[in-house]
């Protein structure tokens, strides 16, 4: 067979900077693939999107690889930058894809406030339970007992359950999937993007090079197998105890509600006030 192979989703990618830099077995490539498929399935025009990221490997998924307006911000702050973009251009779809350290570590405060405000953003947090880009330091999502470069003896901090945290903070749509569950993840991304309000997906992912090989999971496949075996659909957990759920990854849709949305509420105030001034002038 001759001829060049061109990926089905290449039209959505900044081809001139390919190939990407993700490690062999990294979950980031999967997330980019699923994302482009999600956009394609929605028939959404990338010209109507602004993709925002922070700092870290997961922040490279959309920025610069996805071909749309992109904003690569400072560590932990993509949600805050995205807030400014969305407020001034509510007609555009503003999407944040970044890692667990960025979004729930240094950026944790911005995450919970955005959820509280229910601003119409989609935030897909790629959770590989480590600070991968900088070599494998402990993250707020690293399990207890794990040895990382900054917890060489063992990690004594329990991890955040980020999806649950965001749901409690007030997000309209919250889900968790893994890089094994690509089709439900794609559908979830589509639901999140279409949802008016703050939508959040925690995507449990793998970092074989800077995390996996230190905990006995040498390849991407080793992680995917674990994700498949450890995941349990939320619908099935209703009667399970905390002890039974200890090492499980709870996947599925955690929350889907309708609440007043922040940006439209802000614009309502401006509209009201401008009308008031118009009436004053006439008088």
């Amino acid at each position: 067979m001759t001829g060049e192979y061109r990926h089905r989703m290449m039209d959505y990618v900044r081809e001139e900077i390919m190939p990407h830099r993700f490690c062999v077995g990294c979950g980031c490539g999967t997330v980019l693939n699923v994302f482009t498929n999600a956009i394609d399935g929605l028939d959404l025009d990338p010209a109507q999107m602004v993709c925002v990221s922070g700092i870290g490997c997961s922040s490279w998924i959309l920025s610069p690889y996805f071909k749309s307006d992109t904003l690569h911000t400072t560590h932990g702050r993509p949600i805050a930058f995205a807030t400014g973009v969305k407020i001034m251009r509510p007609d555009l779809k503003v999407i944040v894809v970044a890692g667990d350290g960025d979004v729930s570590g240094i950026g944790g405060n911005h995450l919970i406030h955005a959820a509280r405000r229910n601003i119409d953003l989609s935030v897909f947090m790629v959770n590989n339970m480590i600070y991968g880009m900088t070599g494998g330091q402990v993250a707020p999502t690293t399990p207890v007992g794990v040895k990382t470069t900054t917890t060489p003896h063992r990690n004594v901090e329990p991890p955040f359950k980020v999806a649950e945290l965001v749901a409690t903070a007030g997000a309209s749509y919250v889900a968790r999937w893994t890089t094994y569950h690509v089709f439900p993840l794609m559908e979830s991304m589509q639901n999140a993007i279409n949802k008016q309000g703050f939508s959040f997906i925690e995507i449990v992912s793998q970092c074989p090079d800077n995390y996996g090989r230190r905990i006995g999971l040498k390849s991407g496949n080793d992680f995917l197998t674990r994700f498949r075996d450890q995941s349990i659909r939320i619908e099935k957990t209703k009667d399970m105890s905390e002890e039974e759920l200890k090492d499980k990854i709870i996947i599925g849709k955690l929350r889907d509600v309708d609440r007043p949305e922040y940006v439209s509420e802000l614009h309502n105030i401006t509209t009201e006030q401008v009308e008031k001034v118009k009436k004053e002038k006439v008088n």
Binding site: T73, A82, I87, K276
Partner: protein, 387 residues
Amino acid sequence: MALDKDKTRYLQRLEGKTYFMLGDEACAYGAIFAGCDFFAGYPITPASEIAELIAEELPKAGGICIQMEDELASIAAIVGASWTNARTMTATSGPGFSLMQENIGYAIMTETPCVIVNVQRSGPSTGQATKPAQGDVLQARWGTHGDHNIIALSPNSVQECLDLMLDCFDLADTYRTPVILLMDGEIGHIRESVTMPDLSSIKHVSRKLAKPGEQVFGGDDLVPGMIHYGEGQNVHVTGSTHLATGMRDVTTPEVHDVLVKRIYGKIDENREKIVKVEKDLTKKKKARVGVISYGASARPSSGAVKMARTEGKDVDFLRLITIWPFARTQVAEFSKDLDVILVPEMNLGQLSREIERFADCDVIPVSRIGGIPHTVEEIYQAIMEAV
């Protein structure tokens, strides 16, 4: 940018009228006259009044004002919003200004226009939260890491708090840079008469726009044109070192060299166009003593100079309106026939170091910290000792 219908309708109710208000309030009105579309801030003494007035008034002019969860989020939001072709600003004081430094550097590196008002208060740290100072002058220049340049202006009256906001927004758009208004708690919290500008007198400076396909982060001009989000041009904005196209390249030394030097040069090479000072020279040109000051300190300074002159002493006075870039040629020129220059500042001698570098004579800082401005008498005494 020309003011749109909503802004014009709102401002027509105010133009040409005279009011009595706080420096903070004048700053807020100045922002609206300048065409500010979006404000994001966080409460802090003595700047909260700016946010409060903008929250009340800006929506009436068609804009949006929000309070973010902290200062880092505030500056992040205004930088993001600026890329939608909006005029954006925030207002804070020392502790908040310190928090904003990383993203100010991001705005510099990405060449994002925005305005940051710092109503300086007595530091370091929490310091005297409710008392004025001028201790952030060098921080405004060098607060964020790396080699960079900045524009900073300092008003000495409530009227200037309004007028200089128009300059700040124009400079931000002209040079694609964050611009800092270095107010101080003294001017921010006094009340004086302010006359609102006539809309016909406002010259509208727009950002240079790049055409589709043109480079947004480099090229032949020191200041490249901007392409904004939502135009379908796949603009890539990053704080990493980047090519003229915006795409990251951190491995090629020349790329970093060209980018950082051009960003630095935007302000450095336009120094003479940017710098504004106010001269008050003795007509006889026999002065041997000069006084240079700015902001709140310029008020008692000019009073002391007048006092010395009534005693028959010839004293020249130079007020810096632009703090950064530094008024090198103006200071050198001012110092030419002088023996000594006094620099009253509400800090331990920050701008006096800069003045020392370019003045052709002795420079004596007249420092005053502790949260109260200089008195006319103490500066007068310093002048008389120098004479």
